[in-house]
Amino acid sequence: MLRTLLSGDFPRSRALALVLIAILAGLALAPFVFPGTRSLDVAAKVAVFVLLVASYDLLLGYTGIVSFAHTMFFGIGGYGVGIAMAKLGAGWGSLALGIALALALSALLAFAIGLLSLRVRAIFFAMITLAVASFFQILASQLSWLTGGEDGLTYRLPELLLPATKLMDAPLLGVEVNGRLASYYLVFLAALAFFLVLLRMVNSPFGRVLLSIRENEFRSEALGYRTVTYRTVANCLGALGATLAGVLYAIWLRYTGPDTTLSFNIMIDILLMVVIGGMGTMYGAAIGATIFVIAQNYLQDLMKLASAATQDVPLLPNLLHPDRWLLWLGVLFILCVYYFPYGIVGRLRMRAARN
């Protein structure tokens, strides 16, 4: 059962397994264990970003493609839901339509970009995707009649998912069972399911071919695999994963705007998460996203204390200023690329293998 669920790709390290179980349990029980709006927001964001980062890992870690257009697909998912909800009304039908259109658009775009630029070298692809993503960002802010421009879209969801909807009269274990809870579990379970699907993919024969392309493209081609086809398919699958993450995030936030979906800062966040967690491991996505989102929300409080404590020292309070948390993660990122190419997960697995 567990073997089927994890597609035979076990954590292979006791410490890693414990961390993963802790993350899973934490997310599954978040509404009961960590009550409060902020912590539930953090939990939902972790769930969404685990899926988003895992789908990016399929590209970066498993296929060796650097794409800067991942937020574009994330945004397509978000805007798919947002536009459908805002323009067609808050029904399940329009939600499904929005998701379907978003997925189709993402697949088409990923296919086109892949076919045009995956033949050439990694750098060229990275540059092209950066340009296309920034074009899409401009498009979203310019077509304000459709996308709400810089302000974004705020919308209602189907009745079941609204916070005002009461699903049970009495609170369960001290937590009110309302639409907010329902949408949290929708987001969590969907993210978990898609994560397992991605895990299945990378452990399939298809995934092995992707790995071989990453390791030695020339050789895989010589063995008879059409590397361009495989890369393009991987690119499309990664894009679909990101779109689904965008859909879930839009459902959770009930808001879609450039800052929550398309911003280049999110792209940088994704890179940090996947590299710190561990490229090419899938579980790294879960760990990276969890650490990052928690750091984003709680590290700042800690830094505020440190900054206040070092007030008399020159420059140090500035370095420890709560807004500078990205600086330290950036340093960690560079160190990871040099010294731990497989991130935290690789580190833990190596230690387990040595024992």
Partner: protein, 342 residues
């Protein structure tokens, strides 16, 4: 191996024709300028827009030149090149704001006494950062594109944050010195002084680069390195040292471009570098990765097209660069002047 009985006759000079100059992309710049003429209602407006476009193009060229040379020479794409732009802009801002009095004076001499140190400081700091960057960040990952991209992105994050630490997170307004504000009028066309200055500086940089690359021994080695670096190395030249030099010079140029751009925008913020990166990549792709001439033509094209569309169809303006890139790639998939390696 036996030597042939007859010595091989030296081929006559005609047998080795020099590379034919490819004039079509060069003609594209005036062609686009002329093509825009019928759409723009008045000639003075067209002149203003063209000067603005050329000025913008020249500034972009200064920022992009180093990036394309580094790529051509060492096969390194520095995704953090934008930070040299920001650092240059900030360094100059610090100097200029400290010398406010001579900035506001109406005499050219006083203005220059503020601008020259500012530009020197910008180029020095950007060059120094470039040297540090090459040494610490890029050197360990030569030949590994994936890690190169990742590491330089990491460098971008860290340096951008450090700029926040040193200069603060807010946008700093930066007024232009008195003598280069305002515009003069030539036959009804208002031409901003600063833009003319930008075009002149850009032309000077391009001329200097052209002379160094084509008329000096150093330039010969750089061009040979772009063509085939292993061969240059096997002839006994230290390509590594050459490369560090080019990297530092390119960073300093980006710093200069940053100063020019900051004065053009009359403000600086830490995101300048990242915002420009996208434009720089588009210019590089249009010009052909690694080609300096292509970079120059590409930058001018981007500058002109951005200004014309900004006037004719403001909504399209921001995306015009990318449409231009797509059109160029449809015509020449490897850019205007493809370079062997790219």
């Amino acid at each position: 191996m036996s030597t042939s009985e007859q010595p091989v006759a030296l081929a006559p000079a005609e047998a080795l024709p020099g590379e034919r100059r490819d004039w079509i992309p060069l003609a594209l710049v005036p062609a686009i300028a002329l093509a825009a003429l019928p759409f723009i209602p008045s000639l003075p407006t067209w002149v203003t827009l063209t000067v603005a476009g050329l000025a913008m193009g020249m500034m972009i060229f200064m920022m992009a030149a180093g990036l394309t040379l580094v790529f051509g020479l060492m096969d390194v794409m520095n995704f953090a090149h934008g930070v040299f732009i920001s650092v240059g802009a900030y360094a100059a801002t610090s100097v200029l704001l400290a010398m406010k009095a001579s900035m506001q004076a109406a005499s050219l001499g006083a203005n220059l006494s503020a601008i020259v140190p500012a530009v020197l400081a910008a180029m020095a700091l950007a060059g120094l950062l470039g040297w540090f960057f090459e040494r610490v960040v890029i050197r360990p990952v030569y030949g590994d594109h994936l890690r190169q991209i990742l590491v330089t992105m990491g460098g971008l994050i860290v340096v951008e944050q450090l700029i926040h630490v040193v200069w603060g997170p807010d946008i700093i307004p930066l007024p232009r010195p008195a003598t280069i504000t305002g515009s003069f009028i030539v036959a009804d066309a208002a031409i901003e002084r600063y833009r003319v200055l930008a075009v002149l500086v850009g032309l000077a940089v391009f001329a200097a680069m052209w002379l160094i690359l084509n008329r000096t021994r150093l330039g010969l080695l750089i061009r040979a390195g772009v063509e085939n670096s292993e061969m240059v190395e096997s002839l006994g030249y230290r390509i590594r040292r050459l490369f560090v030099g080019v990297f530092v010079a390119g960073s300093a140029l980006a710093g200069l471009g940053g100063v020019m751009w900051a004065l053009y925008q009359e403000s600086v913020n830490a995101q300048i570098g990242m915002q420009m990166m996208v434009v720089l990549f588009i210019v590089l792709i249009i010009g052909g990765l690694g080609s300096v001439g292509g970079c120059f033509v590409g930058a001018l094209l981007v500058g002109l097209v951005a200004n014309y569309t900004g006037y004719l169809a403001p909504k399209l303006a921001l995306g015009s660069n990318i449409l231009l890139m797509v059109l160029v790639l449809l015509w020449r998939p490897r850019g205007l002047f493809p370079v062997g390696k790219a």
